[in-house]
């Protein structure tokens, strides 16, 4: 059991992988704990459904979203070893993903605007969405 050796001239140095599995198990427990907290918050939203103000619901969902991003960070940084790579590689992966920030804001705002346009504004017109059609039900049988 000797350490692996590459004969690849492209690679200048190898990250040190001689450490044990302690960190891996630590991250496993971190991910599990974050998931359990998410589930607890999700269950809280379910159990208190209809009793919470819109602001409480929204902020709970935002917290769940932040916990999800934390999980994503640990998976990418430790399990995928991106944290062990050099800065050049990290930046070429992470910087393009910043596009998601605008992508999410723009499209969710668009969806919200669409909903406002659908809604009735004092019943001056009817709220319309697609309904399940009779034909779909008939053809399913």
């Amino acid at each position: 059991m000797s350490a692996q050796h590459f004969e690849n001239p492209e690679i200048t140095f190898h990250p040190d992988h001689s450490g044990g599995t302690k960190k891996i198990w630590k991250i496993f427990w971190v991910l599990s704990a974050l998931t359990i907290i998410e589930l607890a918050l999700g269950y809280f939203l379910y159990a208190k459904h209809g009793q919470l103000g819109a602001a409480t619901v929204l902020s709970t969902k935002v917290v769940i979203g932040i916990l999800t991003l934390a999980k994503a960070y640990y998976i990418v940084s430790v399990f995928m070893h991106l944290g062990d790579e050099i800065r050049n590689l990290i930046m070429t992966i992470v910087v393009p993903l910043v596009l998601f920030v605008w992508f999410i804001i723009a499209f969710l705002a668009d969806g919200n605007s669409w909903k406002n346009l659908r809604n009735t504004r004092g019943k001056s017109r009817t709220y319309q969405t697609e309904e399940v059609s009779k034909e779909a039900v008939e053809s399913h049988k």
């Binding site: 200048t12 998601f100 992508f103 969710l108």
Partner: protein, 294 residues
């Protein structure tokens, strides 16, 4: 960075070496995963846009509240938690396989690859159960024409709208055809012998309506049709990634078993397969968030 020191004054961009200090194959795996992240991101954001655009999106706690062998028990979040932990655990066994590869320990790589493959297969089994449960479900919902029907969840049908009040349901029952009333009455006798089913057909409409109205049936409005398409489309695309990941992992296991990587002197292929497998777990974290949690 751990204890590794970057050689000072390294000129990364002057040629002769990878400016990212990794092999070509690994850089390309990262770029593939990045493009795949944009694909999944586009799907999920599209789902979010449509979900934001309607008043009555399905409540995940109503749609996903069942568990194998638990009958009609109301268990929101339970089954998806199981699926999530299966995938997290198979990610851990994968990273342990990569670790054993760094130590050039062939037996260790084999053991952890087997465990990872089992985890992936278990996840796919769960997903197959969940899809079957939705596609063969029987929910009484009111269509646009005001009649009641028995609907499953498919890409064309979504029975997960707001609940009907008892009076609304009774009104809708009056308009419903005999055939549909029989179908609804039959959902009341789940697991009962077929004699019950034959009996329902011979009842009059009014007898059926009385039977249904006095039962503990939950009837709903239909919900936005897009729900099924997004759910089956996105979880299906993710499930296909899991499936191809399991295939890749099986190939990697066999190549390890045959000693290919030992001869090569390194287990970098295990690392690349591992990157793909962790990505599958990473996507699930977001699918879990968007479809089940919020």
């Amino acid at each position: 960075m751990g204890s590794t020191a970057i050689p000072t004054g390294t000129k990364w961009w002057s040629g002769g070496k990878s400016p990212f200090n990794v092999s070509y194959g690994k850089v390309m795996m990262w770029y593939f995963l990045m493009s795949d992240a944009f694909t999944f991101g586009a799907f999920l954001i599209s789902y979010g846009t449509i979900r934001f655009s309607v008043n009555n999106w399905a409540d995940p706690n109503h749609v996903f509240n069942s568990f194998p062998f638990a009958g009609h028990a109301n268990l929101p979040l339970a089954f998806v938690s199981l699926m999530t932990f299966i995938l997290i655990f198979s990610s851990v066994t994968m990273v342990l396989a990569v670790h054993e590869g760094h130590q050039m320990n062939k037996k260790g790589v084999e053991k952890y690859m087997i465990l990872t493959i089992i985890g992936g297969a278990a996840f796919l089994g769960c997903q197959a159960w969940e899809w079957t449960h939705l596609l063969t479900g029987e929910h009484v919902a009111m269509l646009g024409d005001g009649t009641l029907s028995v609907l499953p969840t498919t890409v064309k049908m979504n029975p997960w709208g707001a609940a009907l009040s008892h009076t609304e349901m009774v009104d809708a029952l009056q308009k419903t055809s005999h055939e549909q009333l029989v179908a609804i009455a039959n959902t009341l006798h789940h697991g009962a012998e077929s004699a019950h089913h034959a009996a329902a057909a011979s009842l009059t409409n009014q007898e059926l309506i009385n039977q249904i109205a006095s039962s503990e049936i939950h009837a709903t409005h239909t919900g936005p049709i897009a729900f099924g398409g997004y759910f089956f489309g996105i979880t299906g695309f993710h499930g296909f990634h899991v499936f191809s990941g399991v295939i890749i992992n099986i190939v990697m296991y066999l190549k390890t078993k045959l000693g290919h990587f030992e001869q090569r002197g390194h287990y970098e292929m295990i690392e690349k397969a591992g990157l793909y497998w962790h990505f599958v777990d990473l996507v699930w974290v977001f699918v879990f968030l968007c479809f089940y949690l919020v």
